[in-house]
Structures are given as structure tokens and as C-alpha cells.
């Protein structure tokens, strides 16, 4: 059977691990790892575990559904164009991962009964990616068995294994790699991101060098790790790289982590909390080298990876390397479509409607998930692109709802960004945008014990909070962010450090190396924006 845990909601109560200890396991204080595809004999215990979850974060497939939900048949249509659309419209979703799946099931749940097509370039039904860098690498779950449970089978035409190659907004058609054209009345773009490939093409072909995004990637890497390589090299200490390093240490494999920046996780959490993560890695036996990159990867005659020459002049003998270089948004297929789609993602408004290249909101094209970039009022209306599991779920639910709702019924996507990472037996959770900050202070707990809450502030208000093994408190801080509470926090709490004071957050600057747009024409009827690619570096 299939299960998935919404780890954004999970607060580490461990009730599931008590009820079904062969399926759910707690590492350290509150980090949950689970078998996404457990044996059917566990069904009764898993049902108990799901029912016992204090925050109701465990979702199962419903093969034994008792038809407790009768929503679809009882829907009473009100007159109006949107009701007609629900019965006769054509919706196409491009992207068959988490966001596409949630959007599809939301559409059906909210009464859309007409034609629904889901297009995905991977051959798989929607699967869950977070386990790929954790349970899968540790050998607890096979890579190809993280399919997402579907509460009710989404009645859709699934076009899997074929990529969308373009969209014709005037003709309202999606073009597919096999030459087919799929017409739509409304379109949802949820094509997500892919792993950034190794930049040197000759080295990229070395046997032993991996990226990590798909089940195939995870499967290949798992097999190499299981074979007991001499040393694993992880290039890049973002969340993905750090989780891979954690899995290696769990398997007792020697691992070297290279990070060009000052600390691991610095790009997401800043250098102060990244420094805590650095110490955590070293305490777990990771050979962490910051400020160091790879000058070259070298193979033997048979093309197997053997050695890495580092930017500091040293060399390392390695059998396996993982390029954890971040991601690239899957927007190439939208080139020339007239949408504001570029390296930054596909721009949309807070209601998930796509924005065209001139900055005008479109009517029938929606965007959700990792590929979307939308303005958030809490962060000065900056356009945020969030590669977070919880954002894919929340935003695609909003997008689907808005696709079949009249203007007055549409909802804004105002959820605070939230993410988690499980590494080195520690649950790291974040709410808000830690990089939208100038200062950070430890508000609760102890950094030395790695049980603490760091609160981030920007010009005197709280903008983010990050918890290490303290996730039960985090929703309190989310409330402070929502209310633009003053920073630094001045109230008394339990477990308050006596010597805490705000320090500079040290978020790396991210200059955009490219011009993105030029504007041509004179007068309002002529002026138009055009996307360009112009590298200044």
C-alpha cells in the first residue's frame, strides 16, 4: 500500500512510530523516516497510526474506502459560466508530479467533471521525491516504490513519458514531443525543476558521478552506496547534498562534502545557522570543506570516476560523486510562448494566474509548484520561487480551485513558505523566508545541543524562524511572521537563552548574471517586452 506523510505538518509526536513500528521510525528526537510502500499486512497498524497522528499528517491510499466521502455526487451546481465550465471545459495539466497530482484531485473533488489531461515527461505515475535522498539511499525503501497515494483515483487522461515541447496560447494547444497537440480551455503549468547537471560535459559522462532528482538517479546512487565505495564526494552542501552526506554516514561510508560558500545550507539559512549545520556534519564524521570547489573530475581508462582535483590544489580519490548543484526550472518548453518564463521560473500572480512577458496577467493559464514564481505580500510583494513540498501542495490546490471558480470565489496563495530537512538524526524545519532577513537571534533552546529555534528579522520585524529538533513550537513563530511582529522578540518564553542577542544573518548575495528583458516600441500601443538571454559575466 502507499503512504505519504505531510512532513510540513508533522511535529514529531511519534505516535505513528508507536502504532506501526515496522513502518514509521523516529531518528533522534523527532525526525521521522517511513516506508512509503509498506507491505499490505501492515494495513491495520498503519490505519491506527494515521488515526493517531495528532496533526493528521498521514495519508493513505483508500483501497478499502468505505465511500465516506460522497462529495462528488451531491454537488449542487449553481447557475453561471463556471458551473458550465466544470461540465464541459477542457483542462490540461503539464507536469505529473506532486503539484500536478494535487491539482488534478482538487479539480475532481471540487466538481470538475469534464476533460482532464495530465502530461508528464517521466514515465512514472506521480511519486514522492523527499524519500529519494533519505530512506532510499539508506536502503530502507526501494527507489521505484515512492509512488504517491491517491485518495481517490484521479479520473484523468494520463499522458506519461512524453514531454510538452511548447504551448500555443492563441490556438490554446499544448504541443507534445511526439508531435501530438492537446487542446485546452485552461492550462496548469506545473513542470517543476530538474537537477542542475555537471557543467563540464566530458566529466559529466564519468561512471560514478550522479545527480539526484528521479527514481533512476536514486536507484543508481543507492546501488553504488550499497556496494561500499571507498569515499563518496558530495559537491554542494545545500539541503540535497547535506542529506546525501547524512545517508552516507548512516551507512558508515566515508564522505567528503565540498561547499563553495562559507558553510552548508548558507544559501537557505544564512551563515550563522549554516555554521551550526557545519558543526553537525563534522560531529557526524563528514569531511566538510567549505570555500572549496572541484577543479576537475578524473576517470580511468574505462571511464570510471577515480579522482577529484579540488580548487585548493588538493586531490581526493573517490569512487562516487554526487553533484548537488541545485536545480534548473523546466521552462524551456515555454520559450516563445509569450509567458514571463525564464531562469527564475514562470511568473504568476498570487492567484496562480500566469503573467505574460509584458507583465500582464493571463486569464486561462495557471502556474503552481517549483516552477512557479509568485508575489508574497509578507515579503514586500517580492516574487518568490519556492522549491518546497508544502508549497507544491498548497499552491496547486489554490491554482486548481481558481481554475474553476469565478473571480469572487478565487483565493490568494498566501501560505507562509515552509520546508523541512531530515539529516544527521535532526529535524530541521523552517517557516517564512530566512534569506529575507538582516539579523538572526536564538529565541529558544541550545545551539550546542542542536535543539533550538532561530528567529530571523528584517528591518525590525520577524520574517522567518528555523527549528532544529524543536518543531512543536514553530507554529507560534509562524503566527508572529503573519502578524509582522517586532524583531528582535522581546517577550519571555520557556527555555530562553540568557545570552542571546541578534547578529547579522549573513545571507549570500545573489546577483542575476543575465539580463532578462528588453523593451521596444514607442507609445502605449507599441511598447512590448521581449525576453532575452544576455550574459554579462
Amino acid at each position: 500500500m502507499k503512504i505519504v506523510v505531510d512532513l510540513t505538518r508533522c511535529q514529531g509526536y511519534a505516535q505513528c512510530a508507536f502504532a506501526a513500528p515496522d513502518v514509521f521510525a523516529i531518528q533522534g528526537d523527532e525526525a521521522l523516516l517511513y516506508d512509503a510502500d509498506p507491505d499490505d499486512t501492515q494495513r491495520e497498524k498503519i490505519a491506527r497510526a494515521a488515526a493517531a497522528c495528532p496533526v493528521q499528517a498521514i495519508f493513505l491510499d483508500r483501497e478499502d474506502a468505505r465511500n465516506r466521502q460522497s462529495g462528488r455526487g451531491t454537488h449542487v451546481p449553481a447557475p453561471g459560466p463556471e458551473e458550465a465550465f466544470k461540465r464541459t471545459g477542457r483542462i490540461v495539466i503539464v507536469g505529473a508530479s506532486l503539484a500536478g497530482l494535487v491539482a488534478g484531485s482538487t479539480l475532481r473533488r471540487e466538481g470538475f467533471t469534464a476533460s482532464l489531461t495530465v502530461i508528464g515527461d517521466e514515465p512514472h505515475l506521480p511519486y514522492d521525491r523527499p524519500p529519494l535522498s533519505k530512506q532510499v539511499l539508506m536502503g530502507q525503501v526501494p527507489a521505484r516504490r515512492t509512488a504517491l497515494p491517491r485518495r481517490d483515483e484521479v479520473d484523468a487522461h494520463w499522458r506519461l513519458g512524453v514531454a510538452a515541447t511548447g504551448v500555443d496560447l492563441n490556438g490554446k494547444q499544448v504541443l507534445l514531443a511526439d508531435g501530438e497537440k492537446v487542446g485546452f480551455d485552461r492550462l496548469l503549468i506545473a513542470t517543476g525543476v530538474r537537477a542542475r547537471p555537471w557543467p563540464n560535459e566530458a566529466e559529466a559522462g564519468l561512471d560514478g558521478l550522479f545527480a539526484l532528482r528521479t527514481p533512476e538517479d536514486a536507484d543508481g546512487l543507492r546501488q553504488r552506496l550499497a556496494a561500499g565505495p571507498g569515499r563518496v564526494l558530495v559537491i554542494g552542501a545545500g539541503f540535497m547534498g547535506s542529506e546525501v552526506a547524512s545517508a552516507c554516514r548512516e551507512l558508515d561510508l566515508p564522505v567528503t562534502v565540498l561547499e563553495r560558500g562559507k558553510v552548508p545550507l548558507g544559501g537557505a539559512l544564512g551563515a550563522v545557522i549554516g555554521g551550526v549545520a557545519a558543526q553537525m556534519q563534522r560531529d557526524h564524521g563528514v569531511d566538510l570543506r567549505c570555500g572549496v570547489g572541484v577543479a576537475a573530475l578524473e576517470g580511468d581508462d574505462s571511464g570510471r570516476l577515480r579522482r577529484a582535483r579540488l580548487s585548493d590544489g588538493s586531490t581526493l580519490d573517490v569512487d562516487v560523486a554526487v553533484a548537488a548543484l541545485g536545480s534548473i526550472r523546466n521552462v524551456e518548453w515555454l520559450e516563445g510562448s509569450g509567458l514571463a518564463a525564464g531562469v527564475w521560473g514562470v511568473a504568476c500572480d498570487a492567484g496562480c494566474r500566469a503573467i505574460d512577458v509584458n507583465g500582464v496577467v493571463t486569464d486561462d493559464v495557471f502556474v503552481a509548484g517549483d516552477v512557479a514564481r509568485c508575489p508574497h505580500p509578507v515579503y514586500d510583494y517580492q516574487f518568490l520561487a519556492l522549491e518546497h513540498w508544502g508549497n507544491a501542495v498548497a499552491q496547486s490546490g489554490i491554482a486548481a480551485h481558481n481554475m474553476i471558480s469565478s473571480q469572487s470565489e478565487r483565493r490568494p496563495h498566501l501560505a507562509l513558505p515552509e520546508f523541512w530537512s531530515t539529516q544527521f538524526g535532526t529535524e530541521i524545519k523552517s517557516v517564512g523566508v530566512p534569506t529575507h532577513a538582516d539579523q538572526v537571534v536564538i529565541a529558544q533552546g541550545s545551539v550546542d545541543e542542536r535543539r533550538f529555534i532561530a528567529v530571523y528579522g528584517y528591518r525590525g520585524r520577524i520574517t522567518a524562524a528555523v527549528a532544529f529538533n524543536q518543531s512543536k513550537w514553530l507554529e507560534f513563530y509562524a503566527g508572529l511572521i503573519d502578524r509582522a511582529a517586532p524583531f528582535p522578540p522581546s517577550f519571555s518564553t520557556v527555555d530562553q537563552p540568557t545570552d542571546a542577542h541578534p547578529v547579522a544573518v549573513e545571507v549570500p548575495e545573489r546577483p542575476t548574471p543575465q539580463a532578462t528583458v528588453v523593451v521596444t516600441g514607442h507609445g502605449p500601443s507599441e511598447r512590448r517586452a521581449t525576453l532575452v538571454r544576455r550574459t554579462y559575466l
Binding site: I26, F476, F491
Partner: protein
């Protein structure tokens, strides 16, 4: 004299059988100040927020109004006061104690412990129900679900878990009662409650001290032996801390589950269609859902009254001033129409049941993972085995305690007992 507040009426034993209309009244003012300066919070969202609010402390001994008059150690009669137990402590002390207790109880170190107790639970329940036979008169058997079943069962379980001899019940029951009475907010002010609680807990600690002395050098696989051995990821608890927490677990381990099981049987008898579904046994996870719904609908712990504000806290437009004691009325929150649709309906088929029955946040009920299977098994077996059960009195007589609310007796007439079915393990 001022008009009796809704909260005062709730505390009054005359409303014990059905406090829910009063809870509905209470919710009209989500945060209400009582005459004694304490605050009562009764709505779902506000309770959830406060359960996760680090500005609320559980270290009532630090409550400003208790001040220096709390004796530090020596009380004139009886054993010395014990250090705070896990529910009387804030982090980081709370977290340390909780990790130590969990080390011998559940994940990450003993993940399968509770699961492995399930055959034992079934065996105890089976033998308790077997004992109902032989009381028959004229074809009818009258059983007291409380005294004959719901009390002895969890006591047996907690004794086994802690390594306490079952036959000592006569020794510790009175002390346990004293602890429960001490925390009844209808019996005196907070300072007075704290003093009585400390005294009663110290007595119970003394019992444990003697028990451990007698067992010296003979550790078993029980939780107390584990605590004494000091194994675990960090510095072991002090001996006094072990006594203090052992006392807590013994009391909490049976004074709450008895009410969950009894409230459960009462609710099932009032909803015979659910009882019937449970008896038929065609829905494997029905007992699970029944228990979760009971925790929402008839929770064994009605409110938490051991918190106070470390700072001014604004909730639902009201500021709870620093230093105020705060009562979180879980049972009212779980029936808040603002948090739950159709809250006054007992409906085990709810899709999303995020109830407050076990509290929430860091003090989430430690025994929940045990209470759940205990009650699931108890209610399933009662439903399957009791022939034609009928309530003798509705409502039944209640215990006076407003916090740990439940019937004192639950008399049920039955036409006999079906034999136990052998279930696959």
C-alpha cells in the same frame, strides 16, 4: 456575592454528567477572566495556539503568587517533597525528562515496546470479561464497567509496565486518589492545590522508594528498572526525579484510561448503531476511529489547569497578563463548531479528526500510545462479548473531579458473555 461564573458552574459536581451545554456557553467568550485572576480558554484555535505558545509555563511552583511560601524541601509530616515531574517542568528540563522516560517506552530506542504489549492487553481484557460470568441472577448479569473492568484493566497494565506488584494496589490507590483530589480546582486555590499535590506525590514517591529498595539489584525489563539503570543518551535522572515521575506515571496511567474506557462504553450504549458495527467486526479500523472520536467527544481529561503566562499574551483580542494562571478547556475546544463541523455529533466516520483529547505541543500525553490500544481492545471486546448490554441508569453517577471526568460506576445489565474469539495475532 457575585453571580456564579460559567467556569464555577462547570467545576460544580452537579454538572458533571453533562458539562457540554456549559462549555458551549463558555465558548461565547473564548478567553474569560475569573474572579481569582485566572483565565479560561475554551475555543479550538485559541487552545491550539496556546498549547504551542512558549510564553506559557508549566512550572507552577514559579507562579509569582505562590512565591516563597512554598516549602523547598522539608515538610513537617511525611517524606520530603520531590522535584517536578515531566508535566510540571518547562524545557529544557522537561525535554530531558521526557527523553529519558521515552527511552524505555518507545522510539527511537524501544519502538516496538507498546506494540509488543498488545497480546498482553488482549489477554488481560479477556480474563476480566471472563470474570463477568458467575454473577448471573435470573438470566441477567449486572456488571459495573468501572469497578469490574475499566479500573482494574489499566491498573494491571501500568503495574506491568512500571514493574509494580499488582497486589500493592491497596497500598497505592489511596495515595493516587489523594493526588487526583489535590489537582481538582474545585477544592481550593492554586497554592493550596500545589501544596496538597506535593504532599500526596511525596507519599507516593515514598512507596516507590520502598519498592525500589526491596528490588535492589534485581532489575527487570520494566520502565523503572530502565530509568534506574541510567542507560540512555544523556545524564541519568536523579533518584528523586525517578520517584517523582514514577508517581506521575502510576497515577496518570490508570486515573485517565479508566475514564476513556468507561466514557467509551457509555457513549456506545447511547449510540447502539455504532456498538453494533463494532460487534459485527466487519470494519477493521472502526475501533481506532471510535477511540479517536471518543477522545474528541468525551475526553478523559477535560482541561489543563497547570499553566501560567510568563509574559502578557494576547489571545482572541484579550490580553492575559503576565503571571496569570491559564486553564485550557480541551473538552470545550474539541466541541467548538469553529474547529469541528457538527461537533456535538458522535461520528466515528469523521474524515479529519484533529482533536485535543491528548493535548498538544511538548506536553502531549506521554501515555497516549498505550491508552489508545488499551481502549481499542477494551471496547472491541466489550462490544463482541457482552450479550444485549443495557444501561441501568442514564446518566450514571459521576466522580466529582471536573478535570479527570468520568462515571464512578457504570452499571450494565447483560444476558451473558460470549466466549472470547481467537483473533490472529
Amino acid at each position: 456575592m457575585a453571580q456564579t461564573s460559567i467556569w464555577q458552574q462547570i467545576l460544580d459536581p452537579s454538572h458533571r454528567a453533562d458539562p457540554f451545554p456549559l462549555y458551549a456557553e463558555l465558548r461565547k467568550t473564548p478567553v474569560v477572566r475569573e474572579e481569582d485572576g485566572s483565565y479560561v480558554v475554551s475555543t479550538y484555535r485559541e487552545i491550539v495556539a496556546l498549547l504551542h505558545d512558549p510564553r506559557l509555563s508549566s512550572e507552577m511552583r514559579n507562579l509569582p503568587e505562590l512565591g516563597a511560601d512554598t516549602p523547598a524541601q522539608a515538610s513537617e509530616e511525611g517524606p520530603a517533597e520531590l522535584p517536578p515531574n515531566v508535566i510540571q517542568a518547562d524545557p529544557p528540563e522537561h525535554d530531558r525528562i521526557r527523553r529519558q522516560l521515552t527511552w524505555n517506552f518507545g522510539p527511537p530506542h524501544r519502538p516496538g515496546r507498546v506494540d509488543s504489549m498488545i497480546p498482553d492487553l488482549l489477554e488481560i481484557v479477556t480474563s476480566e470479561i471472563d470474570g463477568f460470568t458467575g454473577k448471573e441472577q435470573l438470566g441477567t448479569t449486572r456488571v459495573d464497567i468501572v469497578d469490574d473492568f475499566a479500573y482494574p484493566f489499566p491498573v494491571t497494565v501500568i503495574c506491568r509496565l512500571l514493574g509494580v506488584p499488582r497486589e500493592d494496589e491497596a497500598l497505592f490507590q489511596a495515595m493516587s486518589d489523594a493526588v487526583i483530589k489535590a489537582i481538582d480546582p474545585s477544592t481550593g486555590g492554586i497554592a493550596e492545590q500545589q501544596r496538597r499535590r506535593a504532599k500526596a506525590t511525596a507519599d507516593l514517591g515514598q512507596y516507590f522508594a520502598e519498592l525500589l529498595d526491596a528490588r535492589h539489584g534485581q532489575p527487570g525489563d520494566d520502565l523503572l528498572s530502565g530509568l534506574l539503570s541510567g542507560d540512555g543518551p544523556e545524564a541519568p535522572m536523579s533518584y528523586e526525579q525517578i520517584l517523582s515521575n514514577a508517581a506521575l506515571l502510576l497515577v496518570a496511567g490508570h486515573e485517565t484510561t479508566v475514564n476513556l474506557i468507561t466514557n467509551g462504553m457509555l457513549t456506545l450504549l447511547r449510540h447502539p448503531e455504532v456498538l453494533d458495527r463494532l460487534r459485527r467486526g466487519a470494519e477493521p479500523d472502526l475501533a481506532t476511529r471510535v477511540v479517536e472520536e471518543l477522545l474528541r467527544y468525551e475526553p478523559p481529561v477535560q482541561f489543563l489547569s497547570n499553566r501560567y503566562a510568563l509574559d502578557d499574551i494576547e489571545v482572541a483580542g484579550t490580553t492575559i497578563p503576565k503571571g496569570s494562571p491559564v486553564n485550557l478547556v480541551l473538552a470545550a475546544g474539541s466541541r467548538d463548531p469553529g474547529g469541528v463541523p457538527n461537533p456535538d455529533r458522535f461520528d466515528p466516520d469523521r474524515e479529519h479528526n484533529e482533536h485535543l483529547g491528548f493535548g498538544g505541543g511538548i506536553h502531549y500525553c506521554f501515555g497516549a500510545p498505550l491508552a489508545r490500544p488499551e481502549t481499542q481492545i477494551a471496547l472491541t471486546e466489550l462490544a463482541r462479548r457482552l450479550k444485549n448490554p443495557r444501561l441501568v441508569a442514564d446518566p450514571p453517577p459521576y466522580r466529582p473531579n471536573p478535570t479527570l471526568r468520568g462515571p464512578r460506576h457504570l452499571l450494565v445489565d447483560i444476558d451473558g458473555v460470549n466466549p472470547a474469539q481467537h483473533r490472529p495475532p
